[in-house]
Symmetry: C2
Subunit: 229 residues, 2 copies
């Protein structure tokens, strides 16, 4: 992370509040706390050996992150993701990643472009080897590089927010080798468009890439754990 940051950096790892925040967050994302479950300040605090104060603050942050809902005088509850929310987020992301790719054409640095090229070629290698673990990791970092390359703190944060948000669903996505191959080809195309500074093409390809990712996810029925009842 380069300079100051407006929406994140909350959650410094070394304060109690930060540690509690990350702990609860992971527990939600990993499914330890399930949808609708109540998060009580005292029990969490006791469990982690801290008082209610840092727990409260962590829960307030998580509320703004959208992972918990706080009902005044009642408590904090884990929010569920509805199938429609997933759809909406992917469509929103498709527009915003398109915009991001457009801006990246003007603003990407040489280092970022090199990192992106390395990412794509490395991913192609792992695809041939079938290393799904590394492929998923490279997919994430491709998007992170793209987000940074647009040189807009506003847009970058927004996209990171949504990216993290869908990660809890996406744990098992990109799971088919066919999709991984196709996805990487799309990455390659976006990269080339940015390299050639073709803003219209870059925007269109990034937009379509996100829609493809969504369609694939739906086709493979890859988030039924979070399906609403």
């Amino acid at each position: 992370m380069n300079d100051y940051d407006v929406r994140r950096d909350v959650s410094d790892q070394y304060s109690l509040r930060g540690r509690v925040f990350h702990k609860i967050r992971d527990d939600i994302l990993n499914g330890k706390y399930k949808e609708g479950e109540e998060l009580k300040e005292v029990s969490i605090g006791h469990e982690m050996g801290v008082s209610r104060t840092p727990v409260r603050e962590a829960l307030r942050q998580l509320e703004l992150e959208g992972l918990v809902q706080i009902i005044p005088n009642r408590g904090a509850f884990v929010t569920g993701i509805q199938a429609k929310d997933v759809h909406d987020i992917y469509m929103i992301r498709s527009r915003l990643e398109g915009l991001c790719a457009r801006w990246a054409c003007e603003n990407i640095t040489k280092e970022q472009l090199e990192a992106m090229e390395e990412n794509v070629y490395l991913a192609e290698f792992h695809v041939t080897k079938g290393n799904m673990e590394q492929i998923a990791e490279l997919d994430n970092s491709f998007h992170r590089i793209l987000y940074a390359a647009c040189d807009s703190k506003m847009l970058e944060h927004l996209l990171i927010d949504y990216h993290e948000y869908v990660m809890r669903i996406r744990k098992k996505t990109l799971s088919t080798i066919e999709r991984a191959t196709q996805s990487n080809k799309e990455h390659h195309g976006i990269m080339e468009a940015i390299k050639m500074k073709d803003a219209n093409l870059a925007e269109r390809l990034a937009d379509e890439h996100m829609k493809q990712a969504y369609d694939n996810m739906v086709k493979n029925g890859l988030f039924d754990l979070y399906r609403e009842q």
Copy 2:
């Protein structure tokens, strides 16, 4: 409040924390607290007659809203809006309002469409009369109707966020009668496209409308108060 909510609903008006949150927020938006100014927990608490606890929580929320930056063990500082941020927000909004208009084609209710038509015709009337006050009010409500019509809590919240965010700049915008006339024509076009359920047209018009609004704002130099030094 109807159902779950992902990013807001923090800030119930009736808790101390909620009141403090809104108070500080307004003070920042109205310019009482200036960019870079430090917000001390005790002084604000004393000023409002409350203890540090609700102030702390309010500041944490404001950090996630992007209005203050918190440096651990140092304090909370008001973040400024840069001209670039304004530009970025308008471009982001242009994409998202486009998406919103698209979805509105499928999901708008009869009541919402009627409200929209009424809004447009009423605005045309006030434009001929030159009632700038009412015109600005109608402009806001046109967009709110549009946001609700897309039937996506996710997108609606996001757009409302940004809408509120730019309001602090936009206080004096739409001030020329020429722009008001043009803006209302654009509203009319968006409405007609939604009415005809032409999603592609609606998306394009809404997107262009936002860009026009931005261009007009820049042309008239309408946010120099917040220009960075």
